[in-house]
């Protein structure tokens, strides 16, 4: 299925947003605002990510799908905190590239990083124990 106009525009917008390489000042700003530095620029704080992880019932046996993950927030963070496996998906490959690098540095079990629209995910039903997304519907 081809990307819609909205998806193409969103992809372009967020590709530009995710393009700057990690930088100390970006990390410092993110830590001050959200409580940690994972390349995020939205409104999900560490406290909210923790609550999402608990509400999604994550534990070390779970397989999490994070839709619209950007650079891996909060999916990779939750994989580290809860010990679960994580698969990430989003449209901009630029963010996923950085997420893969971060997962390697953190030695996290990243089971996939998939370029896909949330409307057309390439996974079989019930592939995951929990699904999260943060400010993706809007």
């Amino acid at each position: 299925m081809g990307a819609s106009k909205d998806e193409r525009e969103a992809r372009q917008h967020f590709a530009e947003r995710y393009s700057p390489e990690p930088d100390d000042v970006l990390d410092a700003v993110e830590r001050a605002v959200l409580g940690d530095a994972w390349g995020a620029n939205g409104f999900t704080t560490v406290a909210e990510a923790n609550a999402l992880g608990e509400q999604a019932g994550l534990d070390e046996n779970a397989h999490l799908l994070d839709i619209g993950t950007g650079r891996g927030w909060p999916g990779l963070y939750l994989a580290r905190r809860m010990g679960c496996r994580a698969t990430l998906s989003d449209l901009p490959v630029e963010g996923l590239r950085l997420a893969i690098d971060r997962a390697a540095r953190e030695r996290l079990e990243l089971t996939g990083a998939v370029v896909a629209s949330a409307k057309d995910l390439p996974f079989a039903s019930r592939s995951f124990d929990a699904v999260i997304h943060t400010d993706v519907l809007c």
Partner: protein, 111 residues
């Protein structure tokens, strides 16, 4: 499933709705309320928690920190990018303060 979402507040006039749509995130106009979407998708035990106060606090914190680190961020992001982001943020903050935008955490269980 557990997720957060920003929505246009209910009960707005047409002009308020338009203003919310302009000042909110890119696709805020295109969504039905999250609770209804979840129910339509046959999720059970759907719960919504209003986190608008936290949303406003975080948006203001981004604006404050971006201002505090203006020269360094302009070097990293480019001056125009910095200005665009601050302007977008200010418009969104105005909309939240005016009661036009809300944010929710939504949870539900797939059948």
């Amino acid at each position: 499933m557990a997720f957060s979402t920003i929505e246009i507040a209910s009960g707005l006039s047409k002009s308020q709705h338009r203003r919310a749509a302009l000042r909110g995130p890119r696709a805020v106009v295109s969504t039905r309320p999250a609770g209804r979407l979840m129910s339509a998708a046959r999720f059970t035990d759907v719960r919504l928690t209003d986190v608008t106060d936290d949303f406003l606090r975080t948006a203001r914190a981004w604006s404050t920190e971006f201002s505090r680190h203006e020269s360094e961020l302009k070097r990293v992001l480019g001056a125009q990018n910095w200005e665009d982001r601050q302007a977008d943020r200010a418009a969104m903050i105005d909309a939240v303060e005016a009661g036009l935008l809300c944010r929710y955490v939504v949870t539900g269980t797939a059948r």
